[in-house]
Amino acid sequence: MNDTAPAGAPLGHPAPGSPDELAKALRATGYLADDGLATATYLAMQMNRPLFCEGEPGTGKTALAQALAEILGTPLIRLQCHEGIDAGQALYDWDFPRQLLHLRTLEAAGGDFDVDSVEASLYDERFLLARPVLRALRTTPSVLLIDEIDRADDEFEAFLLEVLTEHAVTIPEIGEVRAETPPIVVLTSNRTREVHDALKRRCLYLWLEHPTIEREIEILHSRLPDVPERLAAAVARAVQKLRHADLIKPPGVAETLDWARALQLVGARHLDVGTAARTLGAVLKYREDADRVHQQLDALLAS
């Protein structure tokens, strides 16, 4: 299997003793968690429940799963949801072309085969294509990220509900696969559609907001240590203002980081009207937004 735990990985999740400890561990990976997020993650591990993260794009939902995998030293297994996704893409599938080839080989080899043994050899582990959810159940411990569940259909939610409750699946030809240690599951949603309450009920619900200015400056420091302090503070301040400027797409943390990086690349030492105008494309993704902000750059940069 592709996802083997790295050497020296602990058996089972090392249980941080408190939300604070967990926050510290996350901080060491560069992920700055506030009280709510740390508590949510701590509880998800203690109570063995999936964590359902909802919020504006760019508030760090996906990054949380990555940081968690890093502090636990476990592989991150990711399932990206999309419209029409089904169990075959999430759980497992059989490799039909290879099965067929196998059958032809048996045929070519000649000899007497009894039907049962031929069939058994066809539905062998080596023809099984494990998809993310099955991989997460077999790789213990692991972090399973089910990204953008709001894009999948209701039927798929119902299917997930079953797997997440049982931590096991049954493959008719092979038998039951049950996770020794249930994976830590993080589900994310951008709220393009309301996810069914039955699924949410199984999960801890975390609504993520944009970070405060202090935290955002901290995030800039920890992710982009080369960006001068004054520039980072100016960028964070400007982004906070942009979030209240009635834009079509208010910038997320990812855009803040992009902007700071862009400013760094053009060699800016501080944020003035000229450099801001040149690099605004890193933050604003709609022409209407860019037009509106260009007219008010002075106000945006005034501290």
């Binding site: 408190s18 939300p19 009280d35 709510g36 508590t39 949510a40 701590y42 509880l43 203690q46 109570m47 429940r49 909802e54 419209e83 029409g84 089904d86 599938d93 039909f96 072309p97 099965q99 067929l100 059958l103 032809r104 045929e107 066809l122 709001d150 259909d153 209701d154 951008n190 709220r191 393009t192 559609r193 309301e194 309450d197 949410k200 009920r201 801890l204 619900y205 975390l206 609504w207 079509i248 797409k249």
Partner: protein, 378 residues
């Protein structure tokens, strides 16, 4: 060994926590017993004597969407720190007293519910369903209104459909590699027939935006009932909002089966019955908070409004344009549009008109049925 004092303490704590879930339920957060159980489990895993940890134990287990979070933020300090409740974080300033259902039913005072004795009047009003069908909803007598309610429940809205990306087995269509091979395997690898699959059709999203400002009051009750019937028919693909001085999502309330209860719940959720209109601003709130995220994307969006905008109409025009770009089809239903001598000259309508796919009347049952047809084939 737990001493008896400790046990009493634990009991008090437990009563406090369970009591809180009841307060929360009363505040409109749908707390179920398994949620309560999760809350207690979370409280057990944390140190609930710490205010923050107690706060998060509940917020993570009892809430299910941002609206719940806002209610939770109000209820938590009120229950656990009554003395400090006043300086509680108050992100969602909810109205002091929820309006009664009576507001839904103009022309009837006092009793908000359906249990008043209208028996004889109904008989008198049964003059002819056909006439009632084309009567202006805003000019009905209470008895006619009662009769119309029943007719409303007979509406059979069908959401429009769109092609799905998911494919299903079908006689025509693209070859289905997996099923073909599976069939071949059954025949020792001999390929007899090619299995095929084709895209199925799924319901297309429908969004109903109902103006509940003062000028629309005569129609509000009927339109809400219309929305209830529609949401009940396709609870997964129809969303309903009211537009007043604020935007209110009422889908969850309207999903209840019983019409009176659903409308009562919706009435409670709507803080601004018969208030003013700021159509442009409220539409903008919808586009920002819901529309762009996906609720309106490729959906059939129906706005029920007379287009009466007090202020400038520039913002309104802008928002309607945005909405028309997001939506598959944008329909404006104006109760006045069906009346003789109507011309779309009100500022709001003039600004919106260039971006609309349809401008329909919606003043009678007949015209609402016509609307259903347009939506069905959108």
């Amino acid at each position: 060994m737990t001493s008896s004092t400790e046990r009493t303490e634990a009991d008090t704590l437990l009563t406090g926590l369970v009591g809180f879930t009841e307060v929360l339920r009363a505040a409109g957060v749908p707390v179920t017993s398994d949620r309560t159980a999760a809350f207690l489990e979370a409280a057990d895993a944390l140190d609930v004597t710490d205010r923050d940890q107690a706060y998060w134990a509940g917020r993570l287990t009892l809430c299910a969407d941002p609206d719940d979070v806002a209610r939770y933020d109000l209820a938590f300090p009120a229950w656990f720190e009554p003395s400090q409740a006043r300086r509680a974080t108050n992100r969602d300033e909810r109205p002091p007293a929820p309006p009664k259902l009576a507001a839904l039913v103009p022309g009837r005072e006092g009793t908000g519910d359906d249990d008043s004795d209208d028996g004889p009047q109904i008989k008198a009003a049964a003059t002819g369903t056909e006439i009632l069908r084309s009567r202006d909803l805003g000019e009905l007598s209470p008895a006619e209104r009662e009769h119309l309610r029943r007719l409303m429940t007979l509406l059979r809205p069908e959401p429009p459909t769109r092609a799905s990306r998911r494919k299903h087995r079908h006689r025509r269509g693209d070859p289905d590699r997996q099923r073909t091979l599976r069939a071949a395997l059954r025949n020792q690898g001999e390929l007899f027939s090619i299995k095929r699959r084709d895209a199925s059709r799924r319901p297309r999203k429908v969004v109903l935006l109902i103006d509940v400002s003062g000028s629309m009051e005569p129609y509000a009750d009927a339109l809400m009932r219309f929305a209830h019937v529609f949401v009940r028919r396709a609870p997964r693909s129809v969303e309903a909002f009211t537009l007043g001085t604020r935007l209110t999502r009422i889908t969850r309330e309207l999903r209840q089966r019983d019409a009176e209860r659903a409308l009562g719940a919706a009435g409670k959720a709507i803080p601004d019955w018969s208030g003013g209109t700021r159509l442009g601003e409220v539409l903008k709130a919808f586009v920002d908070r819901w529309g762009r995220r996906g609720a309106a994307r490729r959906a059939v969006v129906v706005i029920f409004s007379d287009g009466w905008e007090r202020g400038g109409t520039e913002l309104l025009g802008e928002q309607v344009e945005q909405l028309s770009r997001l939506a598959h089809r944008l329909i404006w239903v104006n109760p006045h549009a069906g009346k003789a001598g109507y011309a779309p000259v009100q500022g709001g309508i003039v600004a919106a008109l260039p971006h609309l796919d349809d401008l329909l009347a919606g003043h009678s049952l007949d015209t609402l049925e016509k609307l259903l047809k347009v939506v069905r084939h959108a």
